[in-house]
């Protein structure tokens, strides 16, 4: 009997370690962002919808906003577009778009066809700003607070369910009550 104690003990330990690993590993191997709790990267980029105008992200200071990284080459971005439109319609937080490694005509066509949920769309043509945000695959969506601190990052196609369960609880009650 005694000789089973050690292997069983090791097995139990291994099972516990693996269970913790599985429980802590979020869906689809999402990688935690080191940006959470830190200042959101600032940038100045051309505005997609207005040729010649630039947008400075410092202008967002003092407001909550959603920072959504997308591209017309990204299939999941099409899937989340209706959710973005719905969020924009509710008006809880403005949605700022980062059009990542795209081309102006196709991106403009996309907005015309599917609707524009964005308050501003910044055009990151060479992908440098996306690197500053630690983006590794579109779509990615960040929630930023009025102090410019990144509160939350969501990887993958946004859904209304994810919005309700993961974003809204992080907003102050007054902001969330508007819906």
């Amino acid at each position: 009997m005694n000789r089973f104690v050690l292997p069983l003990g090791i097995f139990a330990l291994l099972a516990i370690v693996l269970a913790i690993g599985i429980k802590h590993s979020p869906e689809k191997g999402t990688i935690p962002s080191p940006l959470i709790g830190k200042a959101a990267p600032t940038f100045t980029l051309p505005v997609l919808t207005e040729a010649g105008r630039t947008f400075n992200s410092a202008d967002l200071k003092g407001r909550w906003y959603l920072f959504n990284v997308w591209g017309t080459w990204c299939g999941e971005c099409r899937a989340e577009h209706s959710a973005l439109l719905e969020i924009a319609k509710r008006g809880e937080v403005p949605v700022i778009g980062l059009d990542w490694k795209d081309e102006d005509p196709t991106a403009l066509q996309w907005i015309q066809d599917l609707g524009n949920p964005y308050e501003v769309i910044a055009a990151d043509r060479d992908g440098r700003i996306a690197i500053d945000w630690g983006v590794y695959g579109a779509p990615e969506t960040f929630l930023v607070d009025p102090h410019g601190i990144v509160v939350f990052k969501y990887v993958g196609a946004l859904t209304m369910e994810a919005w309700e369960t993961k974003f809204v609880p992080k907003l102050p009650p007054r902001q969330a009550a508007k819906s």
Partner: protein, 148 residues
């Protein structure tokens, strides 16, 4: 003989195939020293999109952007650690194929040593137990042979 031709043809195909797959990155740094550092860094940074490839070997566009970043930083006179810091600040420890020793990764780094110690402890115990068994066995060796 014909079979040999087929084999040779196959080998050439494989050779060509490997050569094209290695031509993902054609960046040339101005000096051999910089080139060596560039290759070292691009091989130790993970492509976050494909996750099991280094940015040096990955054809996805994010990997190309990160290689460009590495090249620019090296040309600007940044150290290898500056480049690693830059990447970790944005993508986290996960981007390094050799994670740094920190409070979060200490278990990862010490695991091989701990496992080795556990293994050694078990080995010592088992050997001692067996040695003790042999000492207790007072029967002559012939008995063991006959009974088996």
């Amino acid at each position: 003989m014909k079979r040999h031709y087929a084999t040779i043809a196959l080998l050439i195909c494989i050779l060509l195939a490997t050569r094209t797959s290695q031509a993902v990155d054609t960046t040339q740094m101005p000096t051999p020293a910089l080139q060596e550092r560039y290759l070292g860094l691009t091989h130790e940074l993970r492509c976050m999109q494909c996750q099991n490839e280094a940015i040096a070997d990955s054809p996805v566009s994010l990997a190309a952007d990160l290689r460009r970043q590495v090249a620019e930083m090296l040309l600007a006179g940044k150290s290898d650690d500056d480049v690693r810091d830059y990447m970790v600040a944005r993508y986290g420890d996960f981007i390094l194929f050799r994670p740094r020793v920190s409070s979060r990764t200490i278990w990862l780094w010490s695991a091989p040593g701990i496992l080795l110690l556990i293994g050694a402890a078990i080995a010592v115990r088992v050997t001692r137990q067996r040695a003790a068994l042999v000492d207790q066995d007072k029967e002559p060796v012939e008995e063991d042979i006959r009974s088996s």
